[in-house]
Subunit: 238 residues, 4 copies
Amino acid sequence: MAGLTLQPKRKERLGDQLYGQILEQIVSGALKEGDKLPSEKELCLMFEVSRPVVREAMMLLQADGLVVARQGSGTYVQRRPPQGLIAIAGASDIAGILRCYELRVPLEGEAAALAAKRRSSEQLGQIKAALDDLGRVVEARASASAADFAFHRAVAEASCNEMFVSILESLHAAIENSMAVALNITREGSDQRIRRVLDEHSRIYEAIAMGDADAANLAMRYHINRARQRITDQHQDV
Amino acid sequence: MAGLTLQPKRKERLGDQLYGQILEQIVSGALKEGDKLPSEKELCLMFEVSRPVVREAMMLLQADGLVVARQGSGTYVQRRPPQGLIAIAGASDIAGILRCYELRVPLEGEAAALAAKRRSSEQLGQIKAALDDLGRVVEARASASAADFAFHRAVAEASCNEMFVSILESLHAAIENSMAVALNITREGSDQRIRRVLDEHSRIYEAIAMGDADAANLAMRYHINRARQRITDQHQDV
Amino acid sequence: MAGLTLQPKRKERLGDQLYGQILEQIVSGALKEGDKLPSEKELCLMFEVSRPVVREAMMLLQADGLVVARQGSGTYVQRRPPQGLIAIAGASDIAGILRCYELRVPLEGEAAALAAKRRSSEQLGQIKAALDDLGRVVEARASASAADFAFHRAVAEASCNEMFVSILESLHAAIENSMAVALNITREGSDQRIRRVLDEHSRIYEAIAMGDADAANLAMRYHINRARQRITDQHQDV
Amino acid sequence: MAGLTLQPKRKERLGDQLYGQILEQIVSGALKEGDKLPSEKELCLMFEVSRPVVREAMMLLQADGLVVARQGSGTYVQRRPPQGLIAIAGASDIAGILRCYELRVPLEGEAAALAAKRRSSEQLGQIKAALDDLGRVVEARASASAADFAFHRAVAEASCNEMFVSILESLHAAIENSMAVALNITREGSDQRIRRVLDEHSRIYEAIAMGDADAANLAMRYHINRARQRITDQHQDV
């Protein structure tokens, strides 16, 4: 499989930029839960962008559960991400982090399913070692994003398909960035949240160990989806 | 989302190499449908590789439907890819092509689902234009892999998530390579097969146009899975 | 597994009734493609029902792709089911038929996946026999719903899980009814549509024969989803 | 949708009977983790059944993760269900309970997805009320299967598709039976396990409240899959 090369990074989408600016106002509290957003037309004027750009930003904010459209009435702020989010991540990164989750759910779900079918006992041992490492680091409340990435990488490796590993590595910076954000929130969270994060990883490992592809796919997708929710919702399992 | 960079291509997995060599024997007819493969132990000796390498190659051959294991009896050749396959692709590429399909099914399925939810009317127009292009090229029985890639790229673009586009582009060479193989087989095939390939693309477009995310996901996954089967099975819908 | 008993049929949901009445107007042409529907408030008054009932009916019409909501503007007829639909089915049945498809997609998809993993060679033979029967009946342009049901029942049987068979049988009347409608439309359709219907069934059989659970799930879900679309859309693959 | 009637219960499959008898030996400890099972041929003679019946029972035991086949070597006991299982359920019911889970995963996953798209605020309120009820009962360590069923029924109701409700009700006895078993195991388990069971239900509710169909589908499938695992594996999250 020759030819796995990446195009130079294209300029950020206008929709993502507008998304970031509205998100910043939600995180800062300038827009509060329940507040109505300006109309499409007003947003076009305020930010000097075209209608499709406004629509794309609105759709992404809805997709992330941050705003909700009520038919015939307008669009309202639905939830506010955790306080320290912008401090940790920078508003401009949040759009990237959330788009990255959209990709990881199907990609890593499939990798986990293949790993359940194909892993050698050596590969399973490496997943277990990464899981134990992650447990130690998280319990110590130390920075866990490297250990977290190592676990996900070991699962991809066990899929016996190099392309899953290559893509995960190409997303390395974006993923560790999002993990740092999610785990930071966890670190500031309760003991219960920490136990949940470890529990989710254990479930993935167990399904792969049992050779149950459907359960592995499900456990991985569930885990990544939950991580995504932890970023956008400050009320999630405090 | 900074940091989307790819590691230098790592050396080919030993399992993939062994896979390629056994596949070559199946395509050449040295191993025929129904023939029993040498045992794990014999394969270790013949190819001077370790047991895990043999197991990985066997698992991938099974995953691709080329061989089948009968418990307590051994492993047998189940189907033979189309005659001209090696001529078109080179045995060493086939493993890469088939692994690439494993990745594309979940990845492009998700992109199609997001496109159904988010596409602007301009983006929908671009998908339609790419579909019409593909129809013209295929009907003319000309080389269609560029037009085929353009269709899939337009769907990824309509997901409003740059990362799907970036990954598709990073796989550009591998995907066009596999499309060339699949479409070549189609070109040599019946009118019926050509109609099916176009039909599959139309279904994806229609589901996205209707805004039906589940149907779009399903139609895309079905299409890519069928393309994969066309490569490994010469009896498929001749 | 004792205790599989059905409650007496509950009275039809008001939402389904309203759905049926609006559908009837779309099929009869009283409401044409592109026409705007009355507002929620007007529909409440016209049909003397509460707002939640109107919302439920609207949501179901949208889910079936028959109407589309344009934000801030209203709800419009998007497509018109095939002409003879009401004649064949009776407007009051259409809601039931389309709700039945919603159930069959996940249910029979899973049954097909389990069949790919578990079928004995005898069970596979019965699926093949049912497929051949269906081919004969459809080619003869005779009434094919019994043969169609027999194919789906044979797949459920091969899942080695009696509960899939029991539920399919409990839905027997509803399923054969919807098959009669879909196949009638097919019978009046082109040769190409007939070939497609047979092709979809062949794909399911082949995936089960190959033992490929994911492909079997996909092929079954795709087939049932297409059948659903054939009922609501007169433009589908004529 | 007339005609939703169930055939009289058919006699238990021979494969399920054999499954029950082997399971009984695993639960009783007559067969221990790591023990090798008799060969197919020996099982045919021991139980006076045909080869396909033995194969079906073996496949179901593998599907449930109770035994594992090692190629060229034989089939071994992989895990032992919790001690009190037979006492609570009776060996003859376990096969039925586990087959019921296979059905519920796709069925209730889809119902949850539809509920996320369609629920009225009244229906959402009923799901919340059922969740609160379940919390009270479980915290009090009282029998929770009726409250558990009520939660799942409220989700099905919110799908706005009566057929999901009808099928759930037709499975009422089988589902409450399996819930009683799973919750009994939970009741005897740690505080942590109780928190997890409630947490899983909260996730389903939250995804439906947010209108996120994919997350609701995922959370429901994950929950039912975990419940299934709790029944077969005594080591699961003690």
